[in-house]
């Protein structure tokens, strides 16, 4: 297995003050689906943005560590340059260009490599993946349903023939049946296109079903990792999501208070 993407000890600050990532290390092998799980605010999205270069747009920067894609360091590149190398991030929350039609949305994702012919070929492929989009291609995308938008967004990412796709919470706010459908397609893309996928999800079990490997993040750090099959049956995962931290035991927030007070008096 070849590692195509490696994130090494990356630290990220926003506005030079707020530290969000505190040394994140992970890797994605060619053709793998890797799931990145964790609670809200753990730094999952920031990790993806550190890879895709979008951090800069919001005054964030990688201060330590590096990101290596196919043996080339990319953490100093601009977002569009990174996209051109084959790393496409699918942003959280079904972000669509509302006033563009479905097909235009897709075409924005096409980077012009291979010309019009290639664009037509990929478009056809996408409509094969998502037959539901085909009749909607001239519809303004703002009027699509949530599921259709999510399909379109994934389709748009495929337009650039990505080597690796960074998927940020594709199931967010979708009905369960649709979530199933989306994951099935993500699985198919991985199987048929051999596209590696780094998947950030809250829907842990669904993600683990299609993932090969899994990382769990908390507070800007990776706190657990392992093969997906193993983690799938791990009770810790469930507990993690319900708030009982798997790393050691800790005091209740109610008791912390008294301890803190005392500490202050002593110091």
């Amino acid at each position: 297995m070849i590692t195509i993407l490696a994130v090494n000890q990356v630290e990220v600050f926003y506005h030079k003050v707020i530290q969000v990532l505190k040394g994140v290390t992970l890797k994605v092998n060619d053709g793998q689906v890797v799931a990145l799980l964790g609670a809200n605010g753990a730094g999952k999205t920031t990790t993806l943005k550190a890879i895709s270069g979008l951090l800069r747009a919001e005054a964030g920067e990688v201060t330590e560590g590096n990101v290596v894609f196919r043996d080339r360091r990319i953490d100093r590149d601009l977002p569009h340059a990174i996209a051109r190398q084959g790393i496409i991030q699918v942003l959280e929350g079904r972000r669509v260009f509302q006033h563009l039609t479905v097909e235009e949305n897709m075409r924005v994702g096409f980077l012009g490599l291979g010309g019009e012919e290639e664009a037509g070929r990929i478009l056809q492929m996408i409509y094969d993946f998502f037959p539901r989009l085909s009749p909607l291609k001239d519809r303004v995308s703002g009027f699509l349903s949530g599921g259709e938008q999510q399909m379109m967004v994934i389709g748009r990412a495929l337009m650039s023939n990505p080597k690796i796709m960074l998927l940020d919470e594709p199931s967010l706010g979708l009905a369960p049946l649709l979530i199933d459908k989306i994951f099935e397609i993500v699985h198919r893309i991985n199987q048929e296109q051999k596209t590696a996928i780094l998947l950030v999800e809250q829907n842990a079990l669904a993600a683990l079903e299609i993932a090969h490997y899994c990382y769990v993040m908390e507070d800007g750090r990776i706190v657990m990792d392992g093969l997906a099959e193993k983690l799938q049956h791990n009770e810790d995962i469930k507990e993690f999501y319900l708030g009982l931290n798997s790393v050691g035991t800790r005091k209740s927030y109610r008791e912390v208070k008294h301890y803190k007070r005392r500490k202050r008096w002593l110091s």
Binding site: N40, A175, P176, L177, I179, N203, I237, Y253, R261
Partner: protein, 271 residues
């Protein structure tokens, strides 16, 4: 569990939509006096929308909100603030150009009584009112340990401190009910512990109900007396933290539909 007299706020059949998207429907819950009620649910479940409806920022499509027995659903946000409904914000919506002290003082707005002329002269009455309200605010500064940053412009403060100023500003309104929107988001364990302590202190001192929206289950389980769980804009569970932890619907909402407890049930899944 409680007698009707202790009911501070009742949310009845709340419904909200953005265009054709149904954001909330049929939300009902009651907030009892002097309790911490946690509002949880996965991303996009509608928790913040509920807070926005209570504080008057969104106009619900249906249902009512009763506060101390009075229907407030038609009142303006400002009126609601005057009734003592105060809140913090998910993304810290502070007045970035003011100092921490002035942010808190700005919340005393409805209690400070003088006009622009007195303000321009800044003599006598204006000065007395300022000093009087300053004393109130200083209590909060003391409570939240903000003394050191009192005269700092909040823009320059670290994230955790700004979260605290946000809480302080909500308190300076002298609330009858406090709504906290993800007070712990983006904090490390130590900061979370601090914040939890502040929230508990506030409740102990002010004896007011608090609604808290929070993702960190550890915090929710530890500090709240009751939990309301939302998913897809509807309420799916309500109860004590211990019960919620073992509720199948809740586990399913958080872990996804393939969670094992569900398989045994063979419940049909609706689209």
């Amino acid at each position: 569990m409680s007698s009707p007299a202790e009911r501070k706020m009742m949310v009845e059949d709340l419904a909200l939509s953005f265009g054709s998207v149904q954001a909330l429907s049929g939300i009902c819950f009651t907030v009892y006096d002097n309790e911490i009620l946690a509002l949880i649910g996965p991303n996009g479940a509608g928790k913040t929308s509920v807070l926005n409806c209570i504080s008057g920022f969104y106009r619900p499509k249906g249902g009512r909100i009763l506060f101390k027995g009075k229907d407030i659903s038609r009142l303006s946000t400002t009126k609601r603030a005057q009734l003592g409904i105060s809140r913090t914000f998910q993304n810290i919506e502070l007045y970035t150009g003011l100092t921490a002290l002035d942010n808190l003082m700005a919340s005393r707005h409805i209690y400070i009584r003088y006009g622009p002329v007195a303000g321009s002269l800044f003599l006598g009455k204006a000065r007395r009112e300022e000093v009087k309200n300053r004393a109130e605010v200083e209590e909060i500064i003391d409570l939240l340990e903000l003394a050191e940053v009192r005269h700092k412009v909040v823009e320059s403060l670290p994230y955790g401190v700004r979260k605290r100023v946000d809480l302080g500003r909500a308190l300076a309104l002298d609330p009858q009910i406090l709504l906290l929107d993800e007070p712990m988001a983006g904090m490390n364990v130590e900061e979370k512990e601090d914040m939890a302590r502040f929230i508990l202190d506030v409740q102990e001192l002010k004896k007011i109900p608090i609604i808290i929206v929070e993702h960190d289950m550890g915090v929710v389980m530890d500090i709240s007396q009751r939990v309301v769980v939302l998913d897809f804009g509807t309420k799916i569970a309500e109860g004590a933290p211990e019960d919620i932890k073992h509720d199948r619907k809740v586990i399913r909402a958080y872990l996804g539909k393939q969670a094992k407890p569900d398989r045994e049930e063979n419940e049909p899944v609706s689209a």
